[in-house]
């Protein structure tokens, strides 16, 4: 079963965090090794980090079907920072992986414990239905 783990923690006004260099490096190294670990366990389907939200636009179609873009956004609005899609044997395994991602190191190597939204990816139905 596949799950999407989403890190919804980026605030609209956020740019590059003002962390000490070694903490930033440790954070990046953690993220890279986390993906590598998922790849090696045969569970990784996809993983992407997204560009900073101060570049984000929200688009709607106008009456003529042409795009109407919206942005810049209030500092407090939260954006998706990145996601992992994993193929695992149980929901518990997906939660355990989310907890690992949540504990990514921040300033001074302290775990960030950021919330990770875990959503199951839709699939086809089991054999028989009424």
């Amino acid at each position: 079963m596949k799950y999407m783990l989403m890190m919804n923690t980026m605030k609209a006004g956020e740019g590059v965090p003002a962390w000490p260099k070694k903490d930033l490096q440790a954070h990046v190294a953690f993220m890279m090794s986390f993906v590598k670990e998922l790849q090696e366990s045969g569970e990784l389907v996809a993983a992407e980090g997204l560009a900073f939200p101060n570049q984000a636009k929200v688009v709607r179609a106008g009456k003529d079907g042409l795009p109407i873009t919206d942005g810049v956004f209030p500092e407090s609005k939260e954006f998706l920072a990145g996601y992992w899609i994993v193929d695992v044997d149980s929901p518990e395994r997906a939660y355990a992986l989310a907890a690992r991602a949540s504990a990514a190191p921040g300033i001074g190597g302290e775990p960030l414990n950021v919330p990770i939204e875990v959503r199951q990816v839709m699939s086809a139905p089991p054999p028989e239905m009424l």
Partner: protein, 420 residues
Amino acid sequence: MSREAGTGSLEQQLRELVPGVLGAVIRRFHDFAAAEDAVQEALIAAVMKWPQEGIPENPRGWLIQVASRRMLDDLRSNIARRRREESAAQEAEKVAPAPEMDLLELYTMDPDDTLILLFMCCHSALTTSSAIALTLRAVGGLTTAEIARAFLVPEGTMAQRISRAKQSIKASGVPFRMPTEKEQGERLAAVLHVLYLIFNEGYTSSSGSRVHRVELSSEAIRLTRNVHGLLPENTEVAGLLALMLLTDARREARTNAEGELIPLTKQDRGLWNREEIREGIALLTRALAKGAVGMYQLQAAIAAVHDEAVRAEDTDWPQILALYELLRRMSDNPMVRLNHAVAVAMVHGAAQGLELLKTLDADTRIGGHYRLDAVRAHFLEMLGDRDGAITHYRRAAERTTSTPEQNYLIAQAARLSEVN
């Protein structure tokens, strides 16, 4: 799948040879993981060469030779590498003589190799998904790319999954030989479970939104047929094969041209595959006559009762109910109890069915499961409680993780809402 083709195609013939070839190479080199890679390379070589050069007189011997040569090349390059690293004197002792080709071995085949390999690949040391992947590659002869496509994961991920599965087998020290008679029962149950999951994966596609991926279900049927050929007296193997055939028979009727799900009662039964039904029923009849009825035989028997009804209203529900009574006594599975409740509703009325659902609400394994809501909605509709049915169809739609099923459930709620 690129190698997908009708029966009798080159790929199909090649894949029938895989267990026998792999068995021979493992016996010669005593390294399952490396032998498995070498056999895959031999298969690729055959696919490239045979169409031009013609099929060799002894295809199995050809594959064994090519795979063995590959193994020897690897051994030699490993030795050469180590030579560079260590002194030649130290190395001299370690260079084993190249194993000689035993011509007799090339022409004989141990039919048990398929079983031994299945026992290995479905070993309890592996996770279910690893066991499935390894079985499809080492016994089914599918390529990593094909397996990755079937499960909609990147090829690199699937390659890792297979390589880790092989490492687990190595670490657990499972020998390449037939398990003792005492072990066989339990190990066979694990094998049948993996084959059942491969079939279901193909029939229902747990990944992606397509309802069927025929390749995996036909592969599961092929492998189960081989096991049945090796263990013709085993009634659960026959039962599983019958269950697969009797379920697969309905495949064409299960969805419409738009990919929407059609429930059993609304299917065009003219589209059901009579040949599969005939074979499934024949298998089941022989198995049931031997006594010792198991879970797969009972499920196959239920599928057979459905398949035998010319119209949905001809379905022998009392017989289905009796079969679910037996299943319920054999297993405490809440899905069995839910299906039993459906049979009760069909025989004794929806009110009695609803009563049975109440006990399931308290069962943490199924309480809150979308299927409980879907069945309740159906019962409420049968009883004329339209609003209640709409509420539960919608709730089921919110809870399912399957797109086609969600579409179906939303359509049920919409159908009832639009009636004036």
